[in-house]
């Protein structure tokens, strides 16, 4: 086995060249290149974490904006509702008062007409009594030949009217 039979002759060369190459490897690659590679990886991970955090922040901000918008919309809707209901109530009140005044006017006009009709009726009644008195005077003259005054005839008509 050369590893053991040659050991006395080759150990110095083996150890020397191993220390040289491994030393260059450790100081040149391990100490200089590896930390840079790891720093690159760390920077990338940091950037990814930062981007994720920024995205989360943006999402929260968007949520807030949406909530504010929703609140404003709700407010505006409530205001509009209040305004419409107020307008509706006012309209109803106005219509009611208008109807009331129209009713009053109608009632008044109706009363005037009733009065006129009553007057006309009374006038007609009076005329009728005058005609009835004339007729009664003529009737008495024709039947009995007596001449009664118009006043007596009218009085008789009135009495007979009153007795029905």
């Amino acid at each position: 086995m050369p590893q053991i039979s040659q050991i006395a002759a080759t150990y110095a060369s083996q150890i020397f060249w191993l220390l040289v190459t491994f030393g260059i490897l450790y100081f040149g690659i391990g100490k200089m290149m590896v930390p840079r590679v790891i720093a690159t990886v760390d920077a990338r991970e940091g950037q990814i974490a930062g981007d994720l955090a920024a995205a989360e922040q943006a999402r929260l901000a968007a949520d807030q904006v949406e909530a504010a918008w929703r609140a404003r919309m709700d407010e505006a809707r409530a205001a509009a509702l209040a305004e419409t209901s107020a307008a509706k109530a006012q309209g109803a009140k106005a219509a009611e008062s208008q109807v009331k005044s129209a009713d009053a006017e109608l009632a008044e006009r109706l009363a005037h007409h009733d009065l006129a009709v009553g007057n006309a009726k009374a006038q007609a009644m009076l005329n009728l009594q005058a005609v009835a008195a004339d007729v009664a005077q003529d009737l008495v003259a024709k039947v009995s030949g007596l001449t009664v005054g118009i006043d007596a005839a009218a009085d008789a008509v009135r009495r007979s009217n009153a007795h029905g």
Partner: protein
């Protein structure tokens, strides 16, 4: 290989360390020749550097290559944070270097570069000297972190909570032994797994060659099943290459957890 040892194929030849450029460099009495093993360490380092270079674009949206590099760093970083906690981030450079070095070395050892004439794949992690040094580095870091952070209180690691007073000396010795065995088990595990896999592949490859040399009948009887088995074992070895790198890095992070958090 077959030509060198005649009809015998030596499955251990692949582990032989030879100086390249045919000369020995001796510095202060130590032979530090640039060997085939050192060449493959450099190839491992260079390929890993190229791989990492593709991940340095630092784009916000990663391409495929950058995503692969980030996958590996993230894997090691997750392993350390899940084993040690937030303090584990400190050890990412070391454990990442360890994991990737072993992984790339293991996989390079399995690549079929032998098809290029004159080239031989060499698995540096199949050498005890290499895995041993890596294990000793890991163990040394555990000791430095443990004593640096807790001082002599670090010895409390060897006395688990709720140990009866009478048992403390015995438990202390047992725990100390198991602690001291860690670098050996760490280094030996990787060395043995890599060596065994490569020997198995080489033995089966020798069966294929020898069977074919003996004629068509033996070829069908021996070479074909061996070749099919080799394909399966190569896939298994790729899995082992990744698993052993993972185990080494995982155990290192578990031991570091002991040093940082004291159970």
């Amino acid at each position: 290989m077959a030509a060198e040892s005649g009809s015998k194929i030596d499955p251990m030849h692949q582990f032989l360390i030879e100086p390249l450029f045919g000369r020995h460099w001796v510095v202060a009495g130590y032979d530090i020749s640039f060997t085939n093993s050192a060449l493959w360490m450099v190839i491992t380092l260079a390929s890993l550097w190229l791989f990492m270079l593709g991940g340095m674009k630092r784009d916000l949206v990663p391409g495929r290559w950058q995503a692969a590099v980030e996958g590996f760093t993230g894997f090691v970083s997750n392993m350390l944070t899940s084993n040690i906690g937030p303090a584990g981030k400190r050890f990412v450079p070391y454990v990442f270097s360890l994991f990737m070095f072993i992984l790339f070395a293991n996989i390079w050892g399995l690549t079929p570069v032998g098809v290029v004439p004159g080239w031989h794949p060499f698995t540096i992690t199949s050498h005890l000297t290499v895995t041993g040094v890596l294990a000793v580095i890991s163990f040394a870091i555990v000791l430095i972190v443990g004593f640096g952070k807790h001082g002599f209180h670090f010895f409390a690691l060897f006395v688990p909570h709720g140990t009866p007073k009478l048992m403390i000396p015995l438990i202390f010795v047992v725990e100390l032994m198991s602690f001291l065995v860690r670098p050996f088990s760490l280094g030996l595990r990787l060395f043995v797994a890599m060596t065994a896999g490569h020997i198995l592949l080489k033995v089966l490859a020798a069966f294929v060659i020898s069977g074919l040399n003996l004629g068509i009948g033996y070829g069908l009887l021996v070479s074909l099943p061996s070749f099919v088995l080799m394909i399966g074992i190569t896939l298994l070895e790729l899995l082992v290459a990744a698993i052993q790198a993972y185990v080494f890095a995982l155990l290192t992070s578990v031991y570091l957890n002991d040093a940082v958090n004291l159970h």
